[in-house]
Amino acid sequence: MASSALVQGFGGFSGLVSPFSSSSPQKRLIIGLSNLQSEQKKSFISVRSDASVSHFSNSVNRASKLVTNAVAVKGESAASPVSSKSGHELLLFEALHEGLDEEMERDPRVCVIGEDVGHYGGSYKVTKGMATKYGDLRVLDTPIAENSFTGMAIGAAMTGLRPIIEGMNMGFLLLAYNQISNNCGMLHYTSGGQFTIPAVIRGPGGVGRQLGAEHSQRLESYFQSVPGLQMVACSTPYNAKGLMKAAIRSENPVILFEHVLLYNLKEKIPDEEYICCLEEAEMVRPGADVTILTYSRMRYHVMQAAKTLVNKGYDPEIIDIRSLKPFDLYTIGNSIKKTHKVLIVEECMRTGGIGASLRAAIIENFWDYLDAPIMCLSSQDVPTPYAGTLEEWTVVQPPQIVTAVEQICQ
């Protein structure tokens, strides 16, 4: 096919030439990082939307080792895509640590700023050992002052540094909302393009184990309408590392949503360097009956429900949307064109959540392909209670997902 031929022909280039020189300047791949070491290998990944992958590099044409549908759930029928000879097993927070470490080593402008990230090693150990390795100027412990240290990181980003702002819990970033919305998101536009803000804002959010209302917030819905921001949610060690690296290299401000309960997920990830596309959704389980769109922790609830559904004879197609802003309407659209039914499972609040926007986007673009109304399962519009049973009922549980699919597929 023409497009893959284009990529293959490109495989022989030394890498600093844009392969799309014949097309409009906007399609030119931007290679603006000037402080790359010359011995760095340049490899190119072409990822088709159906999750098939071709991987080329200068030196050796390696067989594809990219994992495109990694699921770290025990007993999952899909075999581990990374062969036992290559790759290494680690937990999600270690994957984040690895991604962060690699990027900090690669680019001296990358720095981490947050509470307890330095000497303490990070409250979720994502920055463990980094203060000793990179020094106090690159791994910065701040006082408890989210508004100002977020502002400071954005100011530093205006000059070209690449800060990673860690919110100890995503909910604390509400204190910095003005800085994130007005300065981080909008400065590139209001300055007519003079400033780029290559900052990454990350931290754990979501409903944990009885953490109480203020510490169980999902901020995806609050930031989704801020223009200029990109939002991604990681769910497996593989995509955690890939998205972390991609977010750091991106020139746009990216908010990386992690989940408190997913930090100890274990998975085998490739040894070689890889990144995940920030705007791409992940095909978790191809199917034919219904498209289930989900992200972050709900992916695992969906996978659990999927086991029951498969036993009952259904064939759900499960997509982890990963990119919360902008939505990967291409992958989602292709899936809807196949199955004609959509179920959205999210942990966000029902009102004004990611599901609500996604629903609107799907109706706008794929109305003709739908055979049934879009169902959306989200958390209840209540502050998360402390009591364990109540907390369970706030969040979507696998039996509810099974019932919903059965209802849609009638």
Partner: protein, 394 residues
């Protein structure tokens, strides 16, 4: 500057017999462009936790004339913006800086372009001082595409990255953490430069200021916080908004200096002193005691919360341009006629720039969507009809 002041003086002296006599005692070289002239500041500096700098400021004839010209240009620019706003060519918010020019001019004289300045929304003159052109100012104010932010920012969003001017921010106080971040970047890059974070007496009550100051002091950042105290935070007088209006003392552990902000030489002295201090010892606060003749913005008449007598009183006694004019005339750097010429030239420059800016076209409609994101990392998302996409590992 149009003409050589020494030449001016010579022609003035040789054409006026009265002057010849008085100047014969003083050799011409004393009015040379670069001979230092020592001037004492009108008021002493008040300080907190630091030794105040000397009241004797060294300046030159060239510098004084530059001050005069620059401040007059700024004044004319703001007055012109006033009339443009009233004729509805400028819309939205327009916050004018006239009365406060000495802070900007004095600061620019003491620093370099590798130092950074960041301020709030009263940014027109600071932008000009940092090397912005009048054309860029008026185009941006009128929302044209030749504006410094391509017409997409407006009055409150002037930026000039290459000259170290970081804006231009609408939310009161939000620029203070940004400014401390700029100072952090300067320390990170070992730039040996300082960031001047300007804010007003209104913003001085924002919590994020103290948070940022705390972090800056902890990390020893080369950051100078400059409070332009014009005594009114929007419509509220300073004594009604701040329990402690001694803004230079509010830094507590950070040293502070209170400066007469209407005296351009005092500002220059304090700023160079502050820069030296901040490079070695971390942040300090400069409080510039200044005044704005206009209201908070163009929608504020400025007379409901203060009397006209107060405004005209300050204009008569403390006007910064008048002060420099008196100094220039006292030291015979230029005659009144020559100053008049400078003024006429400035007026013409402003008028020409406005005429040019009025010709500038409105931004193209495609500009609505440009600069929301930076296209980077080689990955592009097209939307629902996208056929393929590529990821590139740089």
């Amino acid at each position: 500057m149009a003409r050589n002041p020494v030449k001016l003086l010579r022609t003035a002296v040789s054409s006026n017999p009265l002057l010849r006599g008085s100047l014969s005692a003083r050799p011409f070289s004393s009015t040379d462009n670069s001979t230092p002239i020592e001037v004492e500041t009108t008021l002493p500096f008040t300080s907190h936790q630091i030794e105040p700098p000397s009241r004797i400021v060294s300046t030159t004839a060239a510098e004084l004339l530059k001050f005069y010209r620059d401040m007059f240009l700024m004044r004319r620019m703001e007055i012109a913006a006033d009339s443009l706003y009233k004729s509805k060519l400028i819309r939205g918010f327009c916050h004018l800086y006239d009365g406060q020019e000495a802070v900007c001019a004095g600061m620019e004289a003491a620093i370099t372009r590798s130092d950074c300045i960041i301020t709030g929304y009263r940014d027109h003159c600071l932008f000009l001082g940092r090397g912005g052109t009048l054309m860029e100012v008026f185009s941006e104010l009128m929302g044209r595409k030749d504006g410094c932010s391509k017409g997409k920012g407006g009055s409150m969003h002037f930026y000039k990255k290459e000259n170290g001017f970081y804006g231009g921010h609408g939310i009161v106080g939000a620029q203070v953490p940004l400014g401390c971040g700029l100072a952090f970047a300067q320390k990170y890059d070992k730039a040996e430069a300082v960031t001047f974070t300007m804010y007003g007496d209104g913003a001085a009550n924002q919590g994020q200021l103290f948070e940022a100051l705390n972090i800056a002091a902890l990390w020893n950042l080369p950051s100078v916080l400059v409070c332009e105290n014009n005594h009114y935070g929007m419509g509220t007088a300073e004594w009604r908004a701040a329990k402690s209006p001694a803004y230079y003392k509010r830094g507590d552990y950070a040293p502070g200096l209170k400066v007469d902000g209407m005296d351009v030489l005092a500002v220059k002295q304090a700023v160079s002193y502050a820069k030296e201090h901040a490079l070695k010892n971390g942040p300090l606060i400069l409080e510039m005691d200044t005044y704005r003749y206009h209201g908070h913005s163009m929608s504020d008449p400025g007379s409901t919360y203060r009397t006209r007598d107060e405004i005209s009183g300050v204009r008569q006694e403390r006007d910064p341009i008048e002060r420099v004019r008196k100094l220039v005339l006292l030291h015979n750097i230029a005659s009144a006629a020559e100053l008049k010429d400078i003024e006429k030239e400035a007026k013409k420059e402003v008028d020409d720039a406005i005429a040019l800016a009025k010709e500038s076209p409105m931004p193209d409609s495609s500009e609505l969507f440009s600069h929301v994101y930076v296209k980077g990392f080689g990955v592009e998302a097209y939307g629902a009809d996208r056929k393929d996409f590529k990821g590139l590992l740089p």
